[in-house]
């Protein structure tokens, strides 16, 4: 951990609100991205990210400085999102909404924006096929490059459970991707005037 961040953490643990705000500034993107990947909706992701930082603010005195702050923060976010998902019991309708949703992008190039949106929709629909804990494990592994040990700490699972979840999730993602491709090919064939 860099000295500046450690300094901010110590100050935040001593009740310095400004130091905590600078930590929010530093970690807003990773936390928001995790919430967005978990929940698939921009507004819910923002609410979840705000709630994560509020929970972190309340618990900052109990944070153990020997642990990685990013893992600690992502752990709070992941647990909150998993709880939200359990409460919500996502319906097929909502999953379709995710696929339709277009996140506003600030890039001026429309082609790039369209391509990025397609990728987002594709990855989001794939992630939505996983159960919340498997999804959290995949997100932590691929977006944050967390090791299996770090994932196990963040999700409070054993390392073997993480390995098993990652394996199950990868298999599911591969199968889901193949099904999507097959469905897309079928749709194109049906829409084509040649058939």
């Amino acid at each position: 951990m860099i000295n500046h961040e450690m300094d901010m953490l110590i100050r935040a643990q001593n009740g310095d609100e400004e130091a905590f705000t600078s930590l929010v500034l530093q970690y807003q993107n990773p936390v928001y991205n995790l919430c967005y990947r978990m929940l698939g909706n921009a507004q819910e992701a923002e609410d979840a990210a705000q709630e994560t930082f509020w929970r972190a603010y309340q618990a900052i005195r109990r944070y153990d400085r020997n642990r990685s702050f990013a893992t600690w923060l992502l752990s709070i976010a992941a647990h909150y999102c998993i709880d939200q998902q359990r409460k919500k019991r996502i319906t097929t309708m909502e999953i379709e909404d995710w696929m339709e949703e277009v996140i506003p992008d600030h890039t001026p190039e429309p082609e790039k924006q369209i391509r990025e949106n397609e990728e987002r929709q594709s990855i989001q629909s794939l992630l939505s096929s996983l159960n919340p804990q498997d999804r959290a494990a995949v997100i932590l592994r691929y977006w944050y490059e967390c090791s299996e040990e770090e994932i196990s700490q963040a999700l409070q699972l054993s390392v073997s459970a993480v390995k098993s979840r990652l394996h199950r999730a990868r298999l599911r993602l591969a199968q889901q991707y193949q099904s999507q491709q097959y469905a897309m090919t079928e749709r194109i064939r049906d829409e084509s005037p040649a058939f």
């Binding site: 929010v24 500034l25 991205n33 509020w54 691929y142 977006w143 591969a174």
Partner: protein, 178 residues
């Protein structure tokens, strides 16, 4: 056909030895199911590695600061309510203990007769009290009376200010002072 350990190897290709890779490749030549998983996984893995972090919306930190101030204010109000409720509860409990002790040590008949006696004698006591006030009022020099009034008023103002400041501090900073 058994797909183990090939199914696992597809996802952990980088950890395989050259002989295991050769074995996996041979299996993929004959197993369509594993071949499909590998093709799908390669695409998914590329997507996972190339999809960037979605950035937080603009003004996220400002909204956090506003929300933090609001939540802290709510928490402090809740703490004050809990503290006042606890104080009130303690007072009620102490009163109940006092009343129960009174009933335990003094017979109810005597309590009732004392109460009736006190109510009957109340007008007489009130007139006696007025007489005492009048008597001492006429005995004390006017200057001492003014000084006494000033003293009492001063103490009242001081105590009220202290009470007001304590109440303000509790409302503003919360019971834990955070």
């Amino acid at each position: 056909m058994s797909h183990l350990p090939f199914e696992n190897w597809i996802f952990d290709r980088e950890k395989l030895t050259p002989s295991q890779i050769a074995e996996l490749e041979a299996h993929l030549q004959t197993c369509q199911q594993c071949k499909r998983i590998q093709t799908g996984w390669k695409e998914v893995e590329t997507l996972l590695h190339t999809t960037p972090l979605t950035p937080a919306p603009p003004q996220f930190v400002n909204r956090f600061q506003a929300s933090l101030a609001e939540r802290k204010a709510q928490r402090q109000k809740r703490q004050v309510r809990i503290a006042l409720f606890a104080l009130g509860g303690a007072f009620v409990l102490a009163s109940m203990v006092f009343v129960l002790r009174l009933f335990w040590t003094v017979p109810p008949a005597r309590l009732l007769s004392d109460l009736i006696g006190w109510i009957t004698l109340a007008p007489q006591r009130w007139s006696e009290f007025q007489y005492i006030l009048y008597y001492w009022g006429s005995q004390i020099p006017p200057l001492a009376l003014v000084a006494l009034v000033f003293l009492l008023t001063g103490w009242s103002i001081l105590l009220l200010t202290l009470w007001f400041l304590t109440f303000q501090r509790l409302s503003k900073l919360g019971v834990r002072g955070q």
